[in-house]
């Protein structure tokens, strides 16, 4: 996540050349040979990035301007036809709207829950062992793969499941709701599941951030007569701000890429209410075999991600 770690280590050229190496004799030749050494170490990575990133992105971009790709032998150039097709498809626009709701709501709640839990786990009022125990419980949701999380919540949110039992017993509901199959609740239900599965990463990072705040700052604030809320607003939040913003942007990026959770709980249904950009694209490609249309949609997703990533990088630079 963190470019600064790598960039920060600037090793002086002179120091790098001081050590005796077996290939020392000549003057200019060994120097060029030696200057190739770092590329040797980087080359497997460079090769993999070329094969796994550069070429595939070039491919998907070129697919998006063609027709009859992958399934046909002779694709033809189609200009922007695939893009106009996608951007005028009402299903795509619904997916765009759903994605927006899904990612902003998830990120907001992740942030609030993550911060609340991190602060409780950072309290000076409890012993280290108690806190460590709670910390393990709080991290639990993050340790399960999405397939497992989908199965757990399909069980919990079943019309006859335990969530409905509790809600009807305490009188919050008259009768059980089929949360994941009811068009009125499905998007909220998948967002809730995503909140459950994603908050621990926020919590861990914010906990580390909290532990990094100097106690002097709190003491100084206390001397100035600041109460708990003032200390939170004037010390904790400003100190955590860089982490909070970075995490929020990262979460927007990750959540916008969420596919498995929605695919395995609702499949984008009922009636498209949980269709997001990733499920829309997947269906275009692997259900309808419209690979060219899917590629146009995939490139649009990439562009949205790049805009978010741009904000992330800028945020990292500023801090």
């Amino acid at each position: 996540m963190e470019p600064a770690h790598i960039e920060r280590t600037v090793v002086p050229e002179a120091a790098a050349l001081q050590g005796k190496t077996p290939t020392a004799p000549g003057r200019t030749r060994p120097f060029t040979l030696r200057s190739l050494v770092p590329y040797g170490y980087i080359s497997p990575t460079a090769l993999l990035i070329l094969v796994l990133m550069v070429i595939p992105i070039a491919m998907v971009v070129s697919y998006s301007f063609k027709d009859n790709v992958i399934v046909e032998q002779n694709p033809v150039f189609a200009g922007l036809a695939n893009y106009t097709k996608v951007l005028t498809d009402s299903n795509f626009l619904v997916a765009l709207k759903n994605t927006f709701i899904f990612i902003t709501l998830s990120t907001l709640v992740h942030l609030v829950l993550g911060l609340a839990f991190a602060m409780m786990l950072n309290t000076a009022l409890l012993s280290g062992i108690t806190k460590a125990l709670f910390r393990i419980i709080y991290i639990l949701p993050w340790l399960f793969t999405i397939a497992v999380i989908a199965v757990i919540w399909r069980l919990m949110l079943d019309p006859f499941g335990v969530v409905n039992y509790i809600l009807t017993t305490v009188g919050a509901l008259e009768q059980g709701v089929n949360w994941l199959a009811d068009p009125n609740t499905a998007l909220w239900a998948v967002t809730f599941i995503n909140v459950w599965s994603g908050y621990p990463f926020f919590m861990i990072s914010l906990l580390a951030g909290l532990q990094g705040i100097s106690a002097d700052l709190y003491e100084a604030a206390a001397v100035d007569g600041a109460n708990g809320i003032q200390r939170f607003l004037n010390v904790t939040i400003p100190q955590l701000k860089p982490v909070l913003i970075s995490m929020a942007v990262l979460d927007l990026i990750w959540t916008s890429q969420q596919f498995a959770l929605i695919w395995m709980t609702t499949g984008g249904g009922p009636l498209n209410v949980t269709e997001v950009l990733s499920t829309y694209t997947y269906k275009q490609a692997f259900s309808s075999y419209e690979f060219a249309t899917a590629s146009a949609s995939a490139v649009i997703i990439l562009l949205i991600t790049m805009i978010l990533a741009f904000f992330y990088v800028r945020q990292q630079r500023e801090t």
């Binding site: 963190e2 770690h5 790598i6 960039e7 280590t9 600037v10 002086p12 050229e13 790098a16 005796k20 190496t21 200057s35 050494v37 770092p38 980087i42 990575t45 993999l48 990035i49 094969v51 990133m53 998907v60 697919y63 790709v69 992958i70 409780m120 786990l121 009022l125 393990i136 419980i137 709080y138 639990l140 949701p141 340790l143 399960f144 793969t145 999405i146 397939a147 497992v148 199965v151 757990i152 919540w153 069980l155 919990m156 335990v162 459950w196 621990p200 990072s205 580390a208 951030g209 982490v243 498995a260 695919w263 950009l277 694209t281 997947y282 490609a285 995939a298 490139v299 991600t305 990533a309």
Partner: protein
């Protein structure tokens, strides 16, 4: 005054404990329910009132999963893929991290930016060309196809974490070997890697977890059941016997055990390594 302060402190303490317990219920109850359901008979899953432990408490669901060859095949596949991804990622990341940490070279910054940005590329964007590539290369429905594509997720993180770890080690360590006439290569494998084992364990666990949990590529780049991994296996179980909830839960738990065990054993190291990569210091 002191008793008032003491009482207020006690009040806050109780407040925090109550808050922590509510949060723990939110986080933990679904997991407890999964565990509990895996020991029920299927008829008891939606019993009213819901109970954590029922009369027919049994290991039947586990027995069924463990004696089913096709389910076990999913586990074998997941282990083969995740362990290969981990080994390959570690080797490639160690080499790259050494280059980044100990050398200066042209394009260092640009390569760096590319590696960092790889993490942001949406998997759904990659899966379409991957499908085309993997079919063209004859890697469709094979282990190498999955292993290679999983590395796009694992490598950037592994390189960043390993470089950060190497950067914490003083350069004098490898210089001392180089003075004795050894090459950078020797310094890396004889000195740097052995003392980096704690950091590399964290990287390895994270890599294993990503690969073990990966869903989209496993779904699209494999076709037959003898190539499917655990996440797909769990999904298939949902389709096959739609409502054998106890078996689905047993399979989910068995599928989560490797990650849970790794995490519990290396918790401290792991969280330390993770936040070192994610949080600015």
């Amino acid at each position: 005054m002191t008793t008032r302060m003491g009482r207020r402190r006690l009040g806050m303490k109780i407040g925090v404990i109550v808050g922590l317990c509510v949060g723990a219920a939110f986080a933990g109850l679904p997991v407890v329910w999964m565990l509990s359901t895996s020991f029920k008979t299927n008829g008891e899953v939606f019993g009213i009132p819901p109970r954590i432990i029922t009369e027919n408490f049994s290991f039947d669901a586990y027995r069924k999963i463990l004696s089913d060859g096709s389910q076990m095949r999913f586990f074998l596949n997941s282990y083969i893929v995740a362990l290969s991804v981990t080994a390959l990622t570690l080797v490639v990341a160690i080499l790259a991290a050494y280059g980044f940490s100990r050398y200066n070279f042209r394009f260092k910054r640009s390569i760096n930016v590319i590696i960092v940005s790889v993490q942001a590329v949406p998997p759904i964007t990659l899966v379409i060309p991957y499908f085309g590539l993997v079919v063209a290369l004859g890697l469709y429905n094979t282990y190498p196809g999955l292993i290679l594509t999983h590395m796009v997720f694992t490598l950037p993180y592994a390189i960043i974490m390993t470089t950060a770890y190497f950067n914490t080690l003083p350069r004098e360590l490898d210089e001392s070997v180089k003075v004795d006439g050894a090459s950078g290569w020797t310094a890396l494998w004889r000195i740097l890697v052995p003392i980096s084992v704690p950091g590399l364990i964290a990287v390895g666990i994270y890599t294993f977890m990503i690969s073990w949990n990966e869903y989209l590529f496993a779904l699209t780049l494999t076709r037959t059941n003898d190539m499917r991994t655990v996440p797909i296996g769990i999904q298939l179980l949902m389709g096959q016997h739609s409502y054998e909830w106890n078996q689905m839960m047993a399979m989910s738990i068995l599928g989560s055990i490797p990650v849970l065990v790794l995490f519990l054993f290396f918790q401290r190291r792991f969280i330390g390594g993770l936040t070192a990569g994610a949080v600015k210091t």
